[in-house]
Symmetry: C2
Subunit: 195 residues, 2 copies
């Protein structure tokens, strides 16, 4: 009988390899058989840890999404009242998550639409909530006089898309460090490119 309890490291290994496979071949183009080969397990024994491709996609999307939520909350607490530093911390963790969980972020951004209907609704809610919280920080920052009176939606989407390209552009070996990338993006968004 399959054990219901899974060693976290084995499950993490499977999810990590799955994220890489999905990023390379897309969710639709990835098979559980190939995943089992990559993790070096018999398919039957892999099913002790994870039930289906859908469950894997679900775990990757929600675990990655929760990282963003957790970090946003941490930045909010750690830099309470100091909106510029809070925003810099937010930019920095976005870049850090991409550097550290590149495959999972790619799956989150590209394959979320293949989540099962009820989980898709949940996922969209989580994403909406994230945007709402980030917009809230911008709004508070403006009210506190720390940010200019910019249009909130424009600021929100400019910020999020400026971070989004990092996932599409960043490849290990480009010789750009996480910190310098975060610093450069922060510099542009916080102070603009005009000298």
């Amino acid at each position: 009988m399959p054990s219901t309890k899974t060693k976290p490291d084995r499950r993490s290994l499977i999810l990590g390899e799955a994220a890489r496979l999905f990023r390379e071949k897309g969710f639709g183009g990835s098979s559980m058989r190939e995943l089992a080969e990559r993790v070096g397990m018999e398919a039957a024994s892999m099913y002790n840890h994870i039930r289906s491709k859908d469950e894997i996609l679900d775990a990757i999307c929600f675990e990655a999404g929760e990282k963003y939520n957790r970090q946003l909350e941490e930045a909010r607490v750690q830099f309470a009242g100091d909106y510029p530093r809070m925003m810099e911390a937010i930019i920095a963790f976005h870049v850090a998550i991409i550097f550290e969980y590149r495959d999972a972020v790619s799956v989150l951004n590209n394959d979320w639409k293949y989540l099962k209907p009820e989980r898709l609704t949940e996922f969209k809610k989580m994403r909406k909530e994230y945007e709402k919280n980030l917009a809230g920080i911008i709004t508070e920052g403006i009210a506190a006089g720390a940010f200019k009176e910019v249009n909130i939606s424009v600021a929100l989407f400019t910020l999020l898309s400026s971070l989004r390209w990092v996932e599409l552009w960043y490849k290990p070996g480009r010789g750009v460090s996480k910190d310098s990338l975060a610093k450069d993006i922060s510099a542009i968004l916080m102070n603009g490119i005009k000298a």
Copy 2:
């Protein structure tokens, strides 16, 4: 025999409807039969103006791409030496093209990958060239002391992605004007959000 010369307005009508159809259903999900219905022509008579779905995609992608190239060149000439105004003009025409040719821009951004191989190479070259020219303007602006010493790639991709979301987000009826959107994006990228 089909006439080889096509009235430009009829061809434009077909391309415009095709762009809308491709945006709604994707290139793969669009049929020439449905296009003919939408433009209100017999399929046979439509083929007098345009030979195939591939030719339509080709025309949409290259005509839209050339708009960007032409406008970049115009901004460069019109604001020669004044890099901040040149950059504001570039941001403004990006927004304007999206507002005026929303369907074509969506096809350009999403369906370019279905171009025929040799045209795909050509298209990528055109896009690379555009990025190179824009990067060149940033480089010159830094050298002229008009822009901060930012990392060129970071500035380039931050700029392009900040404009990219407009296509995904903008819907007629959001009550946002082209000019105010361009002004807000410019404000953030040129001067940052920090007060």
